[in-house]
Structure formats: structure tokens, C-alpha cells
């Protein structure tokens, strides 16, 4: 094999975007402790795509990933990678690279030895190994660091070694088990972009698990949101943000305020008040519903101010205000809907006046800004 750049050497069989790399069919995992860890999960992932499984801790996302890796066997259902059942071969024969939560680098080896490990274990031609290791050190921008021991590398550099080690044997599938969770924000954002760059360069099918909604939105082609062991929604990042399927998804991505009520045409009724909104799905008038409105969709103005562009207007008092740099967060309690507070982002706080705590204000939104979901009995 010639020493081509990683992008030239095809990793995945089949043409990207045309074949299904991972197929999860009706997978359930029961650890026997009451609740199902994963319940009837099904999805397909195209070759070369980057999928993120997003969910809070305990949502079953890591269990699902470990089943795809073949470390756990589902109670029922089937998982195939490139058409082959994942458990048809023992772990060391599978073509799956994984970056672990705590990286799991080998501390008794140098960076280069770590990266060479899968090549040696998989009996690559010993003559090609040093070249391949250098190639991947360059890919993760660690050229010249090969002889460093793991404890001589920074957190970000260790991440890069872990990525190179998982990719160097050109697996059919790359799995990322929250490897960025322990990094500080700056480094995490940098590594998110790195994951994306490397994934694009190699075109390797990737499944990432995280609880960080920003990471999911930044890196993924597709996102699956999980909660309580169930897949809540599977969509592209933009669609997921714009058109959440249910209140959980609406609340998990972004910052939203929720209002309980019952369905009426063109919105919901909360007590005496009509609030305009868009029904997500068909449900009869009077159904118990939950409206969600994102913080950046709510307008705020001084009492008696101009919010004529909004079809729902409420009056209230600023309870709290937090300066977040690029925006100002207001927490507003309204007279019309007692018992809840609205969270509102006011962008560009430099050029607008600020409202102090206790100021009387007016807030409002339009029908398309509030999504209304059927309340789930829980």
C-alpha cells in the first residue's frame, strides 16, 4: 500500500451516503432493575455520516452505544454493522474504533506506541506501521510528539492520541463515548471542530454520544435525542431545533419556558388566557397540552411599549436579570399566568437599554414561536 493521505485510502466499503452502515432494529436492553435501559430503539445510519446520540444521564445513550460496539448484548432486537450482526465476531475481530470516556490510553506506552498498538494487534505489515503512525500523528496535528509518554501530554493532546489510535486501523465505524465531557469549555469546542474535520477528511461513519446539546448541534449530520431509554426524535440538527417532536426535545435543546394548558384552535388556553401557538400534531380541543417557547423567541419591552408585532402579549415584572456577555437573560413573572417564570434572551445588550429587577415589562411572541405538544402522562 502506498503512503497516501488518509483521505485517499477508502475506509468504508460502499459509496458514502448510499448504503446503510449501521442498522439498529427494535433493540431493547433490560438490566433487570425495573426500568428498561433501552426500549425498542430503531434507526439506520448511512455510510460516512456523523450521528450524535444526545440525552441526559441515565437516558440509555451509553448503553445503546455499548451495544453497537458489541460490549453488551441486547435483550432483544438486532444490530448490524455493514450488514453483519455486530456480535458475529469477538470484540478484537470487529472493525470498530472507539474513543472512550476516560480515553483509556496505555500509560506505559508513548503516543506513537499507543497508535501503533491496533496495527500490531491486527497484524499489519510491520514495515508499514511507522509510516502509518506518523501519518495519523500528522492527521491529529501531533507530528513530532510521537515519543512523548502519555503523562507528558496535555488533555487535548491525549484526546488527539485517542482519536488517532481509534482510527489508525481504518475501522468501518467510529464510536465516541463522551470523550470530551472532561475537557474545559474552550478545549471542548476546539476538539468538537477537530472531530468534525477529521471525520470529514476520512469519511468514516461515526456515532457520538453526549449530553452536551451544543456539541451535538455543532458536529452532527444527524441527532438522536434519547430520554428514559426511548428515542424521542431522530432528525437533522436544524430540524430538531426548529421542529421538536415533543416537549422533552424542545426543553433539552436550547432554553425554553413551558406553559401547561389545554388545546384551543390556534394556541392554548391557560386559565382565562389565550396564548397563540402552533400545534405540533393533531389533537382535539381541550386536550391537556404543554406549550414551549424559546428564550430567544420572546420579545421584551418596557410596559406600554411597542410589541404590536406580537400576537400574544403579557405584562409582568423582571424577577432576575443575568448578564451573559453576548446577551442578557431576563426572568419575568407575568400577571396573566401565575406560577411560572419566563426566560428571555435579549441579544445585543450593548445597544438596548437594560431592565432592572422589579421593572414592569411587557413580553410577547407570535403563534409560530410557541410549539404546543400533547402532555404526556408521566
Amino acid at each position: 500500500m502506498t503512503n497516501g493521505s488518509p483521505s485517499e485510502s477508502a475506509i468504508s466499503p460502499g459509496k458514502p451516503g448510499q448504503s446503510t452502515a449501521v442498522h439498529v432494529r427494535d433493540v431493547t436492553m433490560d438490566f433487570g432493575n425495573g426500568a428498561l435501559a433501552v426500549s425498542n430503539a430503531s434507526f439506520e445510519l448511512e455510510t460516512g455520516k456523523f450521528l450524535t446520540i444526545l440525552g441526559p444521564s441515565g437516558s440509555g445513550k451509553t448503553t445503546l452505544l455499548r451495544m453497537i460496539a458489541g460490549f453488551e448484548t441486547p435483550t432483544s432486537g438486532e444490530i448490524t454493522v455493514n450488514g453483519k450482526p455486530v456480535d458475529s465476531a469477538p470484540p478484537h475481530r470487529r472493525s470498530i474504533g472507539m474513543v472512550f470516556q476516560k480515553l483509556a490510553l496505555f500509560p506505559h506506552m508513548t503516543a506513537a506506541e499507543n497508535i501503533a498498538f491496533p496495527l500490531k494487534m491486527r497484524r499489519f505489515n510491520p514495515k508499514t506501521i511507522p509510516g502509518r503512525v506518523d501519518e495519523f500523528l500528522d492527521l491529529v496535528k501531533l507530528g513530532g510528539y510521537g515519543n512523548r509518554r502519555i503523562n507528558e501530554l496535555s488533555g487535548g493532546q491525549q484526546q488527539r492520541v485517542a482519536i488517532a489510535r481509534a482510527l489508525v486501523f481504518k475501522p468501518e465505524l467510529l464510536l465516541l463515548d463522551e470523550p470530551l465531557a472532561a475537557l474545559d469549555v474552550k478545549l471542548r469546542e476546539e476538539m468538537q471542530l477537530e472531530f468534525r474535520r477529521i471525520q470529514h477528511e476520512l469519511g468514516v461513519t461515526t456515532i457520538n454520544v453526549t449530553h452536551d446539546q451544543r456539541e451535538a448541534l455543532v458536529v452532527s449530520d444527524d441527532i438522536i435525542v434519547m430520554d428514559g431509554g426511548r428515542i424521542q426524535q431522530h432528525a437533522k440538527p436544524v430540524d430538531l431545533y426548529r421542529a421538536p417532536d415533543n416537549a422533552f426535545v424542545a426543553g433539552f435543546l436550547g432554553v425554553a419556558s413551558f406553559i401547561n394548558g389545554h388545546a384551543v384552535p390556534g394556541g392554548l388556553a391557560s386559565g382565562e388566557n389565550f396564548l397563540s401557538g402552533t400545534h405540533a400534531g393533531d389533537f382535539a380541543d381541550g386536550t391537556a397540552v404543554r406549550g414551549a417557547v424559546r428564550a430567544e423567541q420572546i420579545r421584551i419591552a418596557a410596559e406600554g411599549g411597542q410589541l404590536t408585532a406580537c400576537d400574544t402579549r403579557l405584562t409582568g415584572t423582571v424577577r432576575d436579570t443575568i448578564f451573559e456577555g453576548e446577551r442578557q437573560l431576563y426572568v419575568v413573572a407575568t400577571e396573566e399566568i401565575p406560577g411560572i417564570t419566563f426566560r428571555i434572551y435579549h441579544h445585543d445588550p450593548e445597544s438596548f437599554g437594560l431592565f432592572e429587577i422589579g421593572t414592569r415589562v411587557m413580553i410577547g411572541w407570535n403563534a409560530r414561536d410557541m410549539k404546543i405538544f400533547e402532555s404526556r402522562a408521566s
Binding site: 460490549f71 469477538p90 475481530r93 470487529r94 470498530i96 472512550f100 490510553l105 494487534m121
Partner: protein, 317 residues
């Protein structure tokens, strides 16, 4: 003021007041400016204890330089290296030294061979019941003294013991299992196993399970995981356990005495004989110093090559 009475009736809990009193007393006895010597003060008792040992060693060294005067049965006056010459020129003592070293080496080998899977199982199992069982089985013989244990082995493995009875059931004639070199090594391994398991357990616990999973996902089968990941990462524990088991075996007295039946003496038995049977303090002291030197050199070499392991100061290697 109305709150005054309340304030006066208020008292701190008794425990706090006792602690305050103790603190005040301590401040008087050991003023704060002596703070930087506190560490040394706490170290003193241990240093004294070791000091006594060192004094004893000097005494032994002195004794070893006098030969026994066979006419008076008292140590001679003049200083001489004759005792060391006796040891050096005696094939019997060379055999005993060699036997002790070989016995200790074999004990280290077999003990680690048995202890590694035992501790691995104990550390890695998800079943609390199994972990507890393994611990209890490990500790039960630990509570029984060495002599009692050796006696137990004598009973079980004797010519009419349980082992030979069992062999008899399958038609094998009683064989002599005791009073030979393998019997001593067997006894030592049995004696050392808990030490080794206890020293290996923390080293194995320190290897994250994820690291093994990672190795297997990277293409290593279990044998390769063991060879390339577990073994090198458990090295500090293995070195520590080997040192402890090795030095304890090398200097052991009871197992060779009881299971060797007098034919399998280790250095400690030879020393005992010189001190308490022939009353040749000089020769006994020379042998004792030789044993100390032997043990120290081995420990020194091991530490120099492999680091101090889990015995303490974390070496880079």
C-alpha cells in the same frame, strides 16, 4: 439586655470543649513555632525501633568476628574472619544458601502465578458474594499461625493423610509427599499467597476496566490484553509482591523446619542451629549477616531495575 441570660447559659458541646482543652494543653507542651519539627517528632518512635534493630546488627557483626573457643565454650578474644571462611569453605552451607535462594525463587514464581488470577478475579468480579467468598477463603488460613498451618499440612499430606487416602481410592500406592524440597515450597506458597494477593489487588484495581475494553476493541485477544496491558500496568504490584514474598521466604524458618523434616534446612534453620544447638554464636552471627546481606542485595537490585513498586516511593521505571 434580654439576650444576656441566653448567652450565659449557652455552652459548646462537651466534645468540643474537651478538644479545645486538649488543643490548649498541646500548645503548651509543643508550641506552634516547633511546628516544622512535628514530622520528625512523630517519626522518632519508628526510628528508635529501627535503631534498636541496627544496634543488634552491630552486635551480631561484632560477634561474627570471634570464633568459638572449643575448650571454654566461650567466644575467643581476638578478631578474625574465620567464621566467614568456615561458611565459604563448607559445601553444606553453600547448599543451604542455594536451597534457600532456589526455594524463595520458586515460591515467588508459583505464588505470583496463583495470586495474579486470584486477585484479578477478586477485583474484577461484579458479584459481591463471589468477592467476599474469595476474601474469606484468602483470610481464613491467614488467621491461623504458620506453625499450626504447617502442622495441618503434615496431617493432611502424611502417609496416612487425606491426600494419600484419596490417591488410594484410585489405586495409587501411598507416596511420600512430605519432608522433601517440594513440600517446603508447597508450604511456603500456601503461606505467601494471601500476602501476594493483597499486594496485587490495589495494583490491579488501578487498571481501569475501560483500558482492557479499549485494548480488545483495538484488536487484542485476551492473551494479548494480558501480555501488553495488564502485565505491564500491574508491574509495580508484581514487583512489590515479589519482593515481599521473596524476602519472607528466603528468611523463613518454620516451613523448612516442619515440612522439610530436618533435611531441607534454609539459612534461618542453620542460624538457629548455631545459636541454640551448638551455641556457636560467632558462626551463627556470620550466617545471619550473610542472610541480611543476601536479602538486601536482592531487594536493592530489584528496586534498582524495576523501581520500588508499590512498596513506596513511586519510581519512574
Amino acid at each position: 439586655m434580654p439576650r444576656d441570660s441566653e448567652d450565659r447559659s449557652f455552652r459548646y458541646p462537651l466534645k468540643w470543649r474537651i478538644m479545645d482543652g486538649l488543643n490548649a494543653a498541646l500548645d503548651l507542651l509543643w508550641p506552634r513555632r516547633l511546628g516544622r519539627y512535628t514530622g520528625w517528632a512523630l517519626l522518632t518512635p519508628a526510628l528508635l525501633l529501627v535503631g534498636i534493630l541496627v544496634l543488634g546488627l552491630f552486635q551480631i557483626a561484632e560477634n561474627s568476628l570471634h570464633t568459638l573457643d572449643t575448650s571454654t565454650f566461650l567466644p575467643g578474644e581476638e578478631y578474625t574472619l574465620a567464621n566467614y571462611l568456615i561458611v565459604a569453605e563448607s559445601p553444606t552451607y553453600w547448599r543451604i544458601i542455594w536451597r534457600s535462594l532456589l526455594g524463595a525463587g520458586l515460591t515467588v514464581f508459583f505464588t505470583l502465578l496463583l495470586a495474579l488470577p486470584y486477585s484479578y478475579m477478586m477485583v474484577r468480579t461484579n458479584k459481591a458474594a463471589l468477592r467476599k467468598t474469595l476474601l474469606i477463603v484468602l483470610f481464613l488460613p491467614f488467621f491461623i499461625g504458620q506453625v499450626v498451618r504447617a502442622y495441618g499440612i503434615l496431617i493432611v499430606m502424611g502417609s496416612s493423610g487425606a491426600v494419600n487416602d484419596a490417591l488410594g481410592l484410585v489405586g495409587i500406592e501411598p507416596i511420600r509427599l512430605l519432608f522433601n524440597f517440594p513440600a517446603v515450597v508447597f508450604g511456603l506458597v500456601q503461606y505467601m499467597l494471601p500476602f501476594a494477593v493483597l499486594m496485587l489487588a490495589p495494583a490491579l484495581t488501578a487498571i481501569p476496566r475501560e483500558t482492557e475494553t479499549a485494548a480488545s476493541s483495538l484488536g487484542a485477544n485476551w492473551l494479548k490484553v494480558f501480555r501488553h496491558v495488564i502485565l505491564p500496568m500491574a508491574k509495580p504490584g508484581l514487583v512489590g509482591a515479589a519482593l515481599v514474598v521473596g524476602t519472607l521466604s528466603l528468611t523463613d524458618f518454620a516451613m523448612p523446619a516442619m515440612l522439610g523434616g530436618g533435611s531441607q534446612d534454609f539459612i534461618a534453620n542453620a542460624i538457629y542451629d548455631q545459636f541454640f544447638r551448638t551455641a556457636d554464636q560467632g558462626l551463627g552471627s556470620a550466617l545471619a549477616l550473610l542472610l541480611v546481606a543476601l536479602g538486601s542485595v536482592i531487594a536493592g537490585v530489584v528496586i534498582a531495575f524495576f523501581g520500588a513498586g508499590t512498596l513506596g516511593m513511586r519510581g519512574r521505571k
